[in-house]
């Protein structure tokens, strides 16, 4: 049985609300949690594969040119070294999310400093690493590399699809009562997932099993097959546990292909794990951005124009660019609009998706500019935003689906006691600390992707959920279990959810916040089909069927589900497809952030004292895991605001701070107790479970609340992120 639904129209049945098991929405613990904290969840590097060898990638130490010689003969056969792989199929760059085909291959050409150019394989990891450290490589460097995205002679291009010139923004700026016209800059970021990338490849004849840490197996299998020149049917990928991805594992990266090639060539399984510096250098970076924002409004604070023109960067030939203006298109009104993106082509590590590509940095800056406009217009920042929520999409003239932005603003202001804040910048001091408050809006586009999942109700009254969907630490195991349990009237411990196996029915994986709503809908549809089959057996309407605690019936006449099944399991595949509702309605998630900071008047050190996020993201499937996602996003926001910055040496483009000692993600002491409030919401245009994505919403503007608070504390506008102390020092009063 296959239950198929295409979202061509709203699904306002809200069927999950008719169910009585009480699992969906509840703050259920993750079933995989105890496995993870006790070391029983097998991550990519932890599989016990017999006869396994270890490979370590070798990095290019030039920025552009060709590898002319790899002197491997003196290494092989000594100190455990088994092979040095320089195959033409080695990946030069990681695959972009959803590529579905191999990224650029052939490691003889060097596009950036740190690019993988060879793999040294040895009996032990230590031997392989030493071999990689001492491998002698000769190069022919090309002198025309570009490293600085803003240099006058750096080539740029403008993606056609991302240029908007509506009305006359210049005129709107001239006519406006109040304007903001500022340039902001955000630095590059690395995903810095806790688990570094790793792959273990084993061949059985022509059949490859690849155990790795990946987010989107459905696409990864095709990328891998294409890279290896084999058919996808000959590959099985296993990623049951992924220790964080944040976009860096959307596509395959160099370790996957090199492990597979080496294992085939040597005839033994090969494990290739990236070191932390290699994660920084050879997986995706978020591009730095330069954002020119112009805002024009009347006396009433209502926007008449918005300009958001951005410069980002990537390697030549990459189609991905940081979609900085993604939410600017629909967030606020204003008739006159000029939005554009320009891509500088430079020889730095590949640019790609890092948590909430676009909004993470675009909303951050737009919400800074809104704060500046609020001050210019003398209007409360919350009120300014309320006044600029458009009725219809300001460019496409389509309606919005469920949107709880104003509620998030109002509720946040009440909880945070926004009205009690000090409104005069730089005038609230406790000892050496200047205290300030700031807020920002949140928005992230919503995406539904095609997904399939199989659900089987077994004769013993338990159920199995199967899909190639991944759990990247987000709670997929929990929420799919909850949806199936809710629909089938089973407690969570009667449901086994199997994920991360490419042999299972395929979904879109985890990324872009689409995983829960997409695969969750597929599970929902499969369960709905099973319910119909049960109802049929009972001779009743599915609408009247009550399934709870392993019993089936209507009203009070329930009988054990095992009796109804009578030895015959029921299985169904659910299949969801996005449809017209994505085109006809502007779908997004919204929220608000409020932050209190203390800035040291002597040293410029900033500490976030409290932070609140209020979010609306459709139906919340699990209050605990959804809240945790928001915590995580807001912590990223603190990092973006205060410390995180990829530093490149513009003489050769290498990443200077390529480890967690000097790439400063927030530590415990940087993060106060964060409060997250999830608004009750159903979005019937988004999915048959009325849920939207929530994985990235927490970061989409969060940093702006912090820097707006820094302004309130000090009177200093940070327009060049992150707000490290050196940028504040000169204008601070001192002790």
């Amino acid at each position: 049985m296959t239950a198929h639904q295409k979202m061509d129209k709203a699904d306002s049945r809200n069927r999950l609300d008719d169910m009585v098991q009480g699992l969906v929405g509840s703050p259920m613990d993750r079933p995989d949690g105890p496995l993870k904290v006790s070391g029983r969840a097998t991550y990519a590097h932890e599989w016990d594969v017999p006869d396994m060898l270890y490979g370590v990638l070798v990095r290019a130490t030039i920025s552009k040119g060709r590898v002319t010689d790899v002197a491997s003969s003196y290494l092989i056969g000594k100190n455990g070294v088994r092979a040095v792989i320089t195959d033409d199929r080695l990946l030069r760059r990681p695959a972009q999310g959803g590529a579905d085909e191999a990224p650029p291959q052939g490691s003889k050409q060097v596009d950036y400093f740190g690019q993988p150019i060879a793999l040294v394989v040895a009996d032990s990891f230590e031997q392989a690493r030493h071999g990689a450290n001492i491998l002698a490589v000769s190069y022919e460097a090309e002198g025309n590399a570009a490293f600085d995205p803003e240099a006058a002679d750096t080539e740029t291009d403008q993606p056609e699809d991302d240029q908007l010139d509506q009305g006359d923004l210049d005129q709107a700026m001239t006519d406006a009562a109040f304007t903001v016209d500022q340039v902001y800059r955000t630095p590059g970021h690395n995903s810095a997932a806790m688990e570094p990338h790793c792959a273990i490849a084993s061949w059985d004849g022509d059949k490859l099993t690849l155990r790795g840490s990946y987010q989107m197996l459905n696409f990864n299998i095709n990328e891998l097959a294409d890279a290896l020149h084999i058919v996808p049917d000959n590959i099985r990928m296993l990623s049951p546990y992924v220790g964080g991805g944040f976009g860096s594992k959307l596509g395959i990266s160099p370790e996957a292909v090199s492990a597979a090639i080496a294992a085939k060539e040597i005839g033994q399984p090969v494990c290739v794990a990236l070191s932390r510096p290699q994660v920084f250098e050879t997986t995706m970076r978020r591009s730095e951005t330069r954002q020119h924002v112009r805002l024009a409004c009347g006396e009433d604070g209502v926007l008449t124009g918005i300009g958001h023109e951005c410069l980002v960067s990537n390697l030549p030939g990459e189609s991905f660019y940081e979609p900085v203006t993604q939410a600017t298109h629909f967030m606020y009104g204003g008739k006159h609009r000029k939005l554009g993106i320009e891509v500088a082509r430079i020889n730095r590590t590949c640019g790609g998706s890092v948590r909430a590509p676009g909004e993470a940095v675009g909303m951050q800056v737009l919400e800074n500019a809104m704060d500046e406009l609020a001050e210019a217009a003398g209007i409360d920042p919350v009120e300014l935003r309320r006044r600029n929520v458009p009725d219809r999409h300001p460019e496409q003239d389509i309606p919005y689906s469920s949107r709880r932005f104003i509620e998030a603003l109002d509720e946040g202001a009440i909880i945070f006691e926004w009205d009690k804040r000090n409104k005069m910048p730089g005038s609230l001091r406790e000892g050496d600390w200047l205290i300030g408050h700031g807020m920002a809006g949140a928005a992230r586009v919503n995406i539904l992707s095609e997904a399939k999942a199989k659900v089987t109700l077994l004769a013993d009254g338990s159920a199995v959920v199967e899909t190639d969907m991944t759990d990247i630490g987000t709670g997929t195991y929990a929420i799919l279990t909850q949806i199936a349990g809710e629909m089938l009237g089973l407690p969570a411990d009667k449901i086994e959810t199997k994920l991360g196996d490419s042999d299972l029915p395929s979904g879109p994986g985890s990324g872009g916040s689409w995983g829960a709503a997409s695969t969750g809908s597929a599970v929902f549809l499969a369960c709905e089909d099973i319910r119909k089959a049960i109802a049929k057996k009972l001779g009743i309407d599915e609408a009247d069927l009550r399934l709870a605690e392993g019993k089936a019936g209507r009203g009070d006449t329930a009988q054990p589900i095992t009796e109804v099944l009578d030895g015959t399991p029921i299985s169904a595949i659910g299949h969801i497809e996005p449809g017209q509702t994505l085109e006809e309605m502007q779908q997004a998630t919204y929220g608000s952030y409020f932050a209190e900071v203390a800035v040291n008047a002597v040293t410029g050190e900033t500490r976030v004292k409290r932070m609140l996020g209020v979010f609306g993201a459709g139906r919340i499937l699990n209050e605990k895991t959804a809240t945790s996602q928001c915590y995580g996003g807001m912590i990223w926001g603190i990092g973006s605001a205060l410390t995180e910055e990829l530093v490149f040496d513009n003489r050769d483009g290498h990443i200077v701070n390529h480890d967690l000692a000097e790439y400063h993600i927030p530590v415990n002491l940087d993060v106060p107790q964060i409060e997250v409030v999830l608004l009750e919401e159903r979005d019937e245009w988004a999915s048959p479970i009325q849920a939207k994505g929530i994985g990235e919403l927490g970061i989409c503007g969060a940093a702006a609340a912090v820097t707006n608070a820094i302004y309130n504390a000090t009177g200093i506008r940070i327009r060049d992120y992150p707000a490290t102390l050196d940028k504040l020092l000169a204008d601070l009063p001192g002790g």
Binding site: T603, E605, H654, D659, V667, L729
Partner: protein, 328 residues
């Protein structure tokens, strides 16, 4: 990691006998990282963890001896250290993480190497790693680099906290040599400025072993450790200051000021201290002290901010140290 041999020393004589052409390992919190990268590639490691050097003990003349193998955690938590040398306890706790402090030792921490990004990247030339190859930090990204005492060859800093506090406390380092003799070296003479030989961090000769650190008898006065860094914890100092300041009525009786994050060694400037002693605290005086300290300071671009930062930190700490109302 380059293949190496490993031996476990049974006692000090054994360690020193084996140490001539080897590298000692205790906690290994810095050494192992450097060996994985092959920034350091010793042929032989001599493990000194079994040596009898993990005691903190009082001496007859009222000093406190901290054995070289006392962990940072134990040292910071020791009642005598907390009571008589609180600046040391605070400095240690301002560094690294609980896990690292549990492993890191007193002797090892003195030998901690710089965190210069270019020193850690084997693909980049570095005079400290490979003498004569050049310094890329000078024209590159140098946020954490020196503003005092640097040379044309190297602008790296000593990154630690513990030694900064020990410098303010006039600690002496016990070093045992191949001849079995122990010499006492004032901590200010232990670390070296880079000069023409940035590869040499300190005065230890081949085979010499740090056996302990002597803290002189407790002194009066306020003890303050102020550390400024890019995040609230788990980051190296951009500027740190260990201060031991004693007042005599209205005037400053003594001031020991040691700075971290500014130079290739914990930095102490006798002229600055002399300028303060015997004077009444004032904003003017503190400003003069800061100007004296920073008279020869030089920034290299991304670390220029350390000059005004250090001035602010010094003035602020002196204010706190000489403020009768504030608790030490």
């Amino acid at each position: 990691m380059k293949p190496f041999t490993y031996a476990r020393a049974t006692d000090r004589a054994d360690a020193i006998a084996q140490g001539g052409n080897a590298t000692y390992i205790a906690g290994g919190t810095n050494l192992l990282d450097l060996m994985k990268l092959e920034v350091m590639a010793p042929d032989k490691l001599v493990d000194i963890n079994r040596l009898d050097l993990a005691e903190i003990s009082g001496t007859d003349d009222g000093a406190l001896r901290i054995g070289a193998l006392v962990t940072n955690s134990d040292c910071a938590a020791d009642t005598r250290v907390r009571q008589d040398y609180p600046v040391l306890s605070r400095a240690i706790l301002a560094g690294a993480s609980g896990q690292l402090r549990n492993k890191a030792t007193t002797g090892g921490n003195l030998c901690q190497r710089t965190r210069c990004y270019y020193f850690y990247d084997m693909a980049i030339p570095c005079n400290k790693r490979e003498p004569g190859s050049g310094c890329q930090a000078m024209q590159g990204f140098n946020r954490i680099h020196a503003i005092l005492g640097a040379s044309d060859a190297c602008i790296a800093t000593y990154p630690g906290d513990m030694a900064v506090a020990m410098t303010a406390l006039d600690a002496q380092i016990q070093i045992e040599g191949a001849d079995g003799e122990t010499r006492l070296v004032p901590i200010q003479e232990f670390h070296l400025l880079p000069g023409d030989h940035p590869e040499k961090d300190n005065i230890l000769a081949a085979g010499e072993l740090i056996t302990g650190v002597i803290l002189p008898p407790p002194v009066e006065g306020k003890q303050i450790y102020r550390k400024v860094r890019d995040r609230a914890s788990y980051a190296f100092a951009l500027c740190s200051l260990a201060a031991v300041v004693e007042m005599d009525g209205e005037t400053i009786a003594s001031a020991a000021l040691a700075f971290g994050g500014l130079a290739h060694k914990p930095w102490r400037d006798p002229d600055v201290e002399a300028l303060l002693v015997g004077e009444k605290p004032s904003a003017d005086l503190f400003g003069k002290a800061a100007d004296q300290l920073l008279a020869d300071a030089q920034g290299y671009g991304s670390n220029d901010f350390k000059i005004p930062l250090t001035k602010r930190v010094l003035i602020s700490v002196l204010k706190e140290a000489t403020d009768k109302g504030a608790a030490a």
